[in-house]
Symmetry: C2
Subunit: 347 residues, 2 copies
Amino acid sequence: MENVKIVIWGFGAMGSGMAKMLLNKKGVDIVGVCDRNEKRVGKSMYEVLGAERGDRPEVIINDNIEEVLTEGCCDVCICATDSFTEKAFPRLKFALERKVNVISTAEEMAYPQAQNPELAKKLNEIAKENGVSILGTGINPGLIMDLLVVCLTGCMVDVEHVEAERVNSLSPFGEAVMEEQGVGITVDEFDKGVKDGTLAGHVGFSESIKMIGDAIGWDVEKIEQQMKPIVTSIDRKSPYGFAKAGNVAGVNMTGQGHVDGDVKINMKHPQQIEPEMEGTHTGDYIRIKGTPEVNMSIKPEVEGGLGTIAMCVNMIPHVINADSGLKTMLDLPVPRAIMGDMRNFIK
Amino acid sequence: MENVKIVIWGFGAMGSGMAKMLLNKKGVDIVGVCDRNEKRVGKSMYEVLGAERGDRPEVIINDNIEEVLTEGCCDVCICATDSFTEKAFPRLKFALERKVNVISTAEEMAYPQAQNPELAKKLNEIAKENGVSILGTGINPGLIMDLLVVCLTGCMVDVEHVEAERVNSLSPFGEAVMEEQGVGITVDEFDKGVKDGTLAGHVGFSESIKMIGDAIGWDVEKIEQQMKPIVTSIDRKSPYGFAKAGNVAGVNMTGQGHVDGDVKINMKHPQQIEPEMEGTHTGDYIRIKGTPEVNMSIKPEVEGGLGTIAMCVNMIPHVINADSGLKTMLDLPVPRAIMGDMRNFIK
């Protein structure tokens, strides 16, 4: 059997991180990389990664996807370019029409049924027409605040209320994330950014809430979310971020899913740089009321960057094995690390 | 669409617990119960459960499986009669040949490939010949020390070592479990029971270890396990158990999976009555070394009886939806609570 062939579209922190991970796995080759960043275009992928090429064929980063992604040129195209389904859609469509399976890192694509049911339907149709499958995944949405919740309800006779809390540190992240999450700005600037929609905060509550609801058979009738600044009382500094005392060190996102007139799904997701400096301990928490109750914690939290990289790479065999159409994490077997030859995971 | 139809074979604590759970779910009917206990045979299932029958048809507990389980009489037969694959095999074969899907509570059936690869192959063939599927599941093996471990490796780039620890209380369990686990006997009696094989302790380490290995691509070359008495220094009393100071309050099971010459999978499972009396706090712990590390805890532990009942019932739709053959928890989508009409979970 030939090695599994992967094309990576988007070579930022996520795309390049997946490339590094893939270079350490057996039975899989990266056969193409598309990226538009001028610093990277025309260079060797290995040079950009600072990795040994060995006897592997050269991969030159190309900004023209038409040249990189030709019909059936790979088994899976990992599309690490967007956060929103609507923006990702033309790219995903392009890839599916090249008759390759697709994994998207776009947060909304973890459950596009939640906010873009029409586009979800179209993606399903396009994938089926081309005999391939498409999945959106990542650490969150994708695992921590949704799939893991669903999995833990599996040992419950009855579920009354779900709470998922992810208290994480933004310190490992780069400048783009600092900007997106408002790290270092004033409270006034933060409020303005929330009002005019320039501050995204965490993307994924609607997806996680709807995924949980659909999985266990709760009809979620309304989803709300709030976004508040985490104001630091001391100066905080991370490798790529700085928040002066009185300014914003991060974002406290909260969300609620209403079922039968009550809030039955609660999401809490404060993310900030250097949380320990003011006594906040990071962790992932799932508290499910019902029979029997389940109180789970992961301390510290699963690191977001590495977690997303791993989830996308580890789902490659499941996406290849799946029948055609739009898939979600609810449809496929549980994710798992790939420690052996990737070809052994293909049915 | 008609309601989902279930036959329950074995009406002890597990089988009757599943019946109680099913009576509270929508879109599913229990159409037959087979049990050989004289106290139950010939009685109404509702009477035995102490449940309201309402306008549901009567179900009389019958000791003749030939009468209860006829060809295609139900969608799923839950077989809650055994712990070991070899002992369960003739019953499972009988059910599959009646062209119904099967869920087995036998611990070894959670991964029969581990200790009975020949029987696993046969079950796969029989299921395929009859166009149905068969799954073994439960709380452990089935979720806590295997599937949940596998799921958490999904967010990891690299896995170096897995440790799963389940510290649970035997206090909620009845006389049969007290006897199986040696609660109340002397240390000498315990040692004798281990030697002559009359004390089973926890059944499932081989299954959990092999399931994890196969899932992530580790070739497990050797599995070892140990069984030691938990000796109490004070008198401990639970509803169905009593251990005098100096005697056995439970069993400390440990197991190891060897990969590439090293122990890479470690299992620890001390189970005893009234653990808190000597300062032992119950909980489920998964510690995975690698990148990133994952340290999970569930406190207190997921209750074993309810957990097994829920896992078996919640997997009903997945087993109906599966293509034919022997399935394991690794092959199917993640378990999930069934809070809506069960028919909505069928594809």
